[in-house]
Amino acid sequence: MELTGAEIFVRCLRDEGVEYVFGYPGGASLHIYDALYKQDEVKHVLVRHEQGAAHAADGYARSSGKPGVVLVTSGPGVTNTVTGIATAYMDSIPIVVFSGQVATSLIGNDAFQEVDAVGITRPCVKHNFLVKDVKNLAETIKKAFYIATTGRPGPVVVDIPKDVTAHKTEYHYPKSVSLRSYSPVTKGHSGQIRKAVDLIMQAKRPMIYTGGGVILGESSKQLTEFVRLLGYPCTNTLMGLGAFPATDPLFVGMLGMHGTYEANMAMHECDVLVAIGARFDDRVTGELSKFCPHARIVHVDIDPSSISKNVPVEIPIVGSVDNVLRDMIKLVKESKQRPDKAALQAWWKQINEWRSLECLKYEHSDKVIKPQAVLEKLYELTRGDAFVTSDVGQHQMWAAQFYKFDKPRRWINSGGLGTMGFGLPAAIGAQFAHPGETVVCVTGEASIQMCIQELSTCKQYSLPIKIVNLNNRYMGMVRQWQEFFYDRRYSHSYMDALPDFIKLAESYGHVGMQIDKPSDVEGALKEAFKLKDRLVFMDFITDQTENVYPMIAAGKGQHEMQLSPCRRDTSAERELA
């Protein structure tokens, strides 16, 4: 039987096992929306802005490991998704974005709501397609999912002209596709892996540095086994938090610009660095010329172009983290060599000295709410078991520092692109993926306003997300940089004319709370979590001038961290100076 392109589209999603589509209808996608209306297997979630759809699909993907799906119309529909696509691209998140397009006969005519979707999204997708013939639709959709989810994952855009959704053809959804120009590597080179394990076993001051690739590659179990087998210190990047249990004593915290003192010092002093599924981002390395001066480096990554991009690597291993880790574990177990106990003991002694500085300590207050205290309490009350999304800025860094993630896929933030406005829609996606679980959006009063309209989506679908708004009346991270590097000229970083967030939440049909006393923090959080079926917007009025510490300033190396004023007079720093 022949089906229309629109019907084929919906069948494809069904046969691909897609549960939810996050979208917003419009002229060019009307045939598809009509086909969606006539079935109930593929559920559609109506957002309030297409950016929200892309972030929601992204949050769904990050929290579940399954690809997120977006459906938007042509023109502004697809341009509104670009920030979301770029966000997913920078963090290698598998989403597939379907955009309506004007009819093929109109393409290139500056038609109503026409935009070159393939051209506009080209630099921020793994691949994209324009489907010109209904006969190619099913196969293209299969390819899109295949490309998005294999190798180094990433967003794929499929642009579908309106007439293609009306034309008819036989429906056949291919079980698999192969592309002659695309065959992601899976197994790592056995010789390289052997060399790497040899080096790893000889290390006197080893360091294991892992990133988002471990989470994307579903390899946290292997990583945990590998690290524990060796007894080496492990650090995670912002994207990699949760890949190794944060409460394990071998974990030295996050590294990088706002990482822990011990993680960054250990990076600087290590003699063998094992980088796994991480890409030596500038926020991790600090000044490149000062990066890991003593280290011989092993780098495991599925993407060859990540290797030796920023930092030259001695032993590159291209392959899926999962397979390579399995092979390494096997070799470590078989190896006659054992880690150098004495050296390791001395190394841990050194690391524990750095640790004893307690670089994340902050000055408590009973007068004003310290943002860090809110996050510590949040961690305690959710027993570290919530899905935590965040926006971008100080609150993001504090959440990364103070919420100890023991499991992968619980920490959902825009690391690469740094997209303010990501947190709330991402929480929507996470809540759809995990209906019974606690989903918390940690945000700030500046970020939350960038996709605030999605509160309406939360109401429509009764999503009981808990929003923790750390409201310091500033774009906190911008203010912090202006304080440090611009002589306290707070140019346009003050958030004036803020809405009354209680009323705002209430007007969307949610529960709003404002908390301005430190003594009320715990009670408010408990009360909010008791409201299991309601979205609660908690507006915490926090210390306006709190800064994120420790910090590696621009141009500095990992060993040149700036510590919190309350940690500066300790012996470790005197020694450092």
């Binding site: 393939v118 080209r122 630099p123 120009s181 695309y182 172009s305």
Partner: protein, 163 residues
């Protein structure tokens, strides 16, 4: 250093712009780029000339390989290879210059492929250096129009870049 990168690309709309977009997005430079379909109509062959340090060339080849439209890639400058470029040039050919231009063209083994009573159109192939030398010899004065194809290149020996 100068590198000649040869690519087999999917012969699809958008493939060229993916390659060009990659170079502009990452700040790599393209000295020249030629592309045309091969004996297999689903494939195009592209010859791309670029410059950069070893690290940059390594990134360029890795990034190109990542593009889904790139089927195969080789850096021809890593081995012995032959490169040829074609020049089409229209030159004033009146009075005494008419004989002189013909003579120079013969010396460079050019072919006159169109003639009017005021001008010759000459076709010349060779390495970029040879074409440069010819242009220099002619001098600016008489040149009406210059069209250069950019180099095409192929590896020496019996091995080829194919699927």
């Amino acid at each position: 250093m100068r590198h000649i990168i040869s690519l087999l690309l999917e012969n699809e709309s958008g493939a060229l712009s993916r390659v060009a977009g990659l170079f502009s997005a990452r700040g790599y430079n393209i000295e020249s780029l030629t592309v045309a379909a091969t004996e297999d109509p689903t494939l195009s062959r592209m010859t791309l000339v670029t410059r950069g340090s070893d690290e940059i060339i390594e990134q360029i080849t890795k990034q190109l390989n990542k593009l889904l439209d790139v089927v195969k890639l080789v850096d021809l400058t890593e081995g012995a290879h032959i490169e040829r470029e074609m020049l089409l040039i229209k030159v004033e050919a009146t009075d005494g210059a008419r004989e002189e231009v013909k003579r120079l063209s013969d010396i460079f083994r050019g072919r006159i492929i169109d003639v009017t009573d005021r001008a010759y159109t000459i076709e010349l192939t060779g390495t970029g250096d040879k074409l440069d030398a010819f242009l220099q010899t002619l001098g600016k004065a008489g040149i009406i129009e210059v069209v250069r194809s950019g180099p095409s290149a192929i590896a020496r020996g019996d091995k080829g870049l194919h699927l």
